[in-house]
Amino acid sequence: MGKTIAEKIFSNKSSQDVRAGDIVIASLDHVMAQDGTSPLAIQAFEEMGVDKVWDRDRVVMVIDHNSPSPNDKVSFLHNMMRDFAKKHQIILYDIGEGVCHQLLPERGHVFPGDLIIGADSHTCTYGALNAFSTGVGSTDLAAGMATGKLWFKVPESIKVVLNGKLGPYVLAKDLILFLAGELTSDGATYKALEFHGEAIQDLSVDGRMTLANMAIELGAKAGLMPWDEKTGTWLKERGVESKCIVTADENAKYSQEVIYNVEELEPQVACPHTVDNVCGVSEVEGTPIHQGVIGTCTNGRIEDFEMAAEILGEKKIKEGTRLILAPASKDIFIQLMKRGVAERLIEAGGTFVTPGCGPCVGTHDGVPSNGENVISTANRNFKGRMGNTEANIYLASPATVAASLLHGHITDPRGL
């Protein structure tokens, strides 16, 4: 019997022949923590009685969630990270650099075939680059920093095959929202998703990252994709050679196989207050919108803002609405400026915030008011997620968000 991508990576990283269900201790290639999880990880690391990190070039910390600091308490915790990074000479990306899940791939920390843990649930993003990456808590992360290893249960995999060509203004985000609706928020718990099919091949690497990013919203441990020339070129541009490409065997055993033809798929919207409460945009068209968000680790890349700029054109967002723009990294922000996209979006009425998590985590950068409806390209719409339990969050693609802001209500981008 053949192996899935997950089984192959865990076999390589534990130097034995393992299958789904086996418990292994595996070697890690990188460990990452952000400012919401690093302080507890530092505390746990110190409790472990270890004086040195396992490999200072493979430990990355990122200040992205509350960036720059909104108050003195957060500043204290940020300085705890800066002190730790200095003491152990690890890599620290400070305020303004961007979201951890953009920085790790963009700065050349992710290689195909790697095993990476991050103390952030959306660490599954790097599955788009043919690496097994998964979210853990602070203490697991600390154990990784201390030993370079972690124990895992090798997950079963669900094979997701997406056939057909996407229609105009139907994007990667629509695919993953559709899948969340189909498989539900715990449909892939303890399992890995393995994506295949024409619709995946057609996506840019950025689009694939949008898809892999939200694998956790289906409960998955990872969202894995095969390597192809696009992956190779994207990585090469960032100085990364694809030496350990992992391909699933033809006769690999999957716990489940789901096949969809996405040719007719319409733009999707996840309605309050769960990510799997998904419908076609036509079902919620006309719902009033007070604030839009484009950006974050899900959809904060160049093509996302270019799409929004294309939809908005020379027009302005509806009077009385607000559009917050959070680029996933500094480099993306610079590109948006060079290409004139940033200027166009600002002219249209958008407000850029620091590259990072922006308003997604509910502490700053655009907390909605009571009774307001937000439409966002982020990955979670839980009640209170953006800092107010009395607000409603709808999730959609950058095209649908931009179209909705033009009219002040949820709008199908294909009808403009």
């Binding site: 302080p39 969630h65 509350n66 853990v136 808590g137 697991d140 030993t147 124990w151």
Partner: protein, 165 residues
Amino acid sequence: MEGRAHRVGDHINTDYIISGKYKFNTLDMKELSKHLLEDLDPCFYEKVDEGDFLVAGANFGCGSSREQAPLVIKHAGIQAVLAQSFARIFFRNAINTGLLAIECDTASIETGDEISIHVKEKEIINKSKGTRIEIQSLPTIMLSILEDGGLSRHIKKHGDFKLEG
């Protein structure tokens, strides 16, 4: 281990357990625990007595990887969480921080039920209802981490992961 049940529903995410608007501010988990499940029930913390159990439906702890979630549950005085199923990251975090997390059929348990948990016997007795519920056993490594009082102590004691019991 005996205590009183507090029942919550399905898909309780870690944002509900401890909101992002508090968790970035402090490492004082006792202080943070006052906001436990506040977005679902603003008085939840006051209703919890030391030694109580939190009883949930499916997919408990989904969402963010924040370890503050099991920590605030523990610091609020709850000694174990029982759920129909757990989200993966929360489940690991609970064991790593020394909070007992048990997967079992919780459908019949209601708020106020007096429960006793017998880990070795793999059973839960609902004394209020006079029923017995079977529990799943944990992998050896998780039991070993729990016995050591969490992953930090486990690593400190063994200098590494100890896979076999």
